[in-house]
Amino acid sequence: MDIFFTVLVFGLLLGGIYGLVSIGLNLIFGVVRIVNFAQGELVMFGMYGGFFAWHWWGINPYLSVFLVAPLVGLLGVAIQRLVIQPLQHEPNMQIFATFGLLMLFQNLMLMVSRGEAYSVGGQVGSTVLTVGDLKLSLVRVVTLVAATLITIGLHLFLARTMTGKAIRAVTQDKRAARAMGINVEKTFLITFGIGAALAGMAGVLLTPIYSITPGVGGNFILAAFAVVVLGGLGSVWGAYLGGLVVGIVEAFAGFYIDPVLRSAVWFVIFLIVLVVKPSGLLGQVGAEEVGFREQH
């Protein structure tokens, strides 16, 4: 029972990481309705940003996030405007374009870093909290808390602000939103920007946990797809819950069966959801457009 609990908690903390990484992807998926293969690289940029801010100027990642995340957000706006918008009616070409960005970004960082792995050392990364019998890594707890706070924040933003409401309107029905006078293209730009900034934010917050390499985005992208599909497109809380579920399932599968099976876990979740309930746990009606088809 003891071990079960430890694994469960580990899974929850891992789920916090996944939720954090996936929240931006979920927003982009749900609103712009495209599959952004380069999302993991936006997280990677966040990580490098956090690292360089710490390495050159000694800024703590929990502070530099406020600088790095907006920068990654701007990159997101540029990607949407220059690459995604021209291809909005060509889903197959979007695959090539965003995968090309993945390759470009990864290898640019490879050229810059010459293959060295970086890590943010120091006390923060190795601090351990002891709660009863459990030893919890402080940074992972902070990540889970951050994921929760960000989810709440995004939820409030979407529910209470004019921009947020516009985003929700576009998610539900693009044509109706346009008819109501909402500038759909601008909404897409804003959404991609926010989604990218969230990815960058996730990256910075994860710098104390992961070793930073150009390919680190690859750790997350498949899991993020599984999370988004499980949680349901367009649902902020869906991404959060989906992240927790994926984290827990992965932790248990890893412990009781084999740690190697992580990618298999993501994939099985992905397939099961799409076959059994394509709209995911909390998905909105619009989910059918992006990747699923009516039965027959």
């Binding site: 009606v285 009516e294 039965q295 027959h296």
Partner: protein, 258 residues
Amino acid sequence: MTANASAPMLEVRNASKQFGGLRAVDGVSLAVRPGEIVSIIGPNGAGKTTLFNLLTGQLVPTEGEVRYLGEAINALPPHERARRGMGRTFQIAKPLIALNALENVMIGAFLHDANLNVARDRAYAVLERVGMVHLAARRAGELTLSERRRLEVARALALEPKIVLLDEVMAGLNQAEVGIEIDLLRSLHAQGLTFLIIEHNLKVVRAFSERVIVLDRGKLIAEGTADQILNSAAVIEAYLGAGHVGSERAAASDEVRA
């Protein structure tokens, strides 16, 4: 050409289709007999295309039954229905734009013979039948709207169907083009084809229908000959709303008739 009073070729019995809270088709029954021309009319959102999709298999009815050639076919997938002689066109024409007109029709012609030359010859024959041979080499993406519509019909004809379901095949065509299409459809009908068409253009309905069925909000609200339906008050009301000048006069003549 009168429709013979034999067993229906295609029919729906009390069919309904529910999407979440919306009942797009509600308890509709209709039968099309061999050689008939039946039109379905109704205001936007009445469920006409949904009904078509139930007939062709794109959608499965929530309730009720679709029968074709005497068999219940609810579970039969669309491509099987096409193989058994149900041809259809789509409201938004779907030509295969990377292929030329001949190849588009060949796609349908391949159904009966896998040989390229046979399919090509059959496709040419169909193009001649619809008067489009001169466009055989033209890429489908470069055809005008009326040509694309006709190409869809041609592709359906290449299947050698028993019944053709046309979904607003006249939409967006000018009067001259509409006239050409009606001539074509009439000649095809004379050769023995059965038709079930959705039409918004009521002049077309008057010119090319034996029986007319009216749908409104998913329900079948009237059925009769073209003359009966097009002059009926209930139908005018469904289209234009009560209080329309025409509806009062029609109501009066309805009463006289009744």
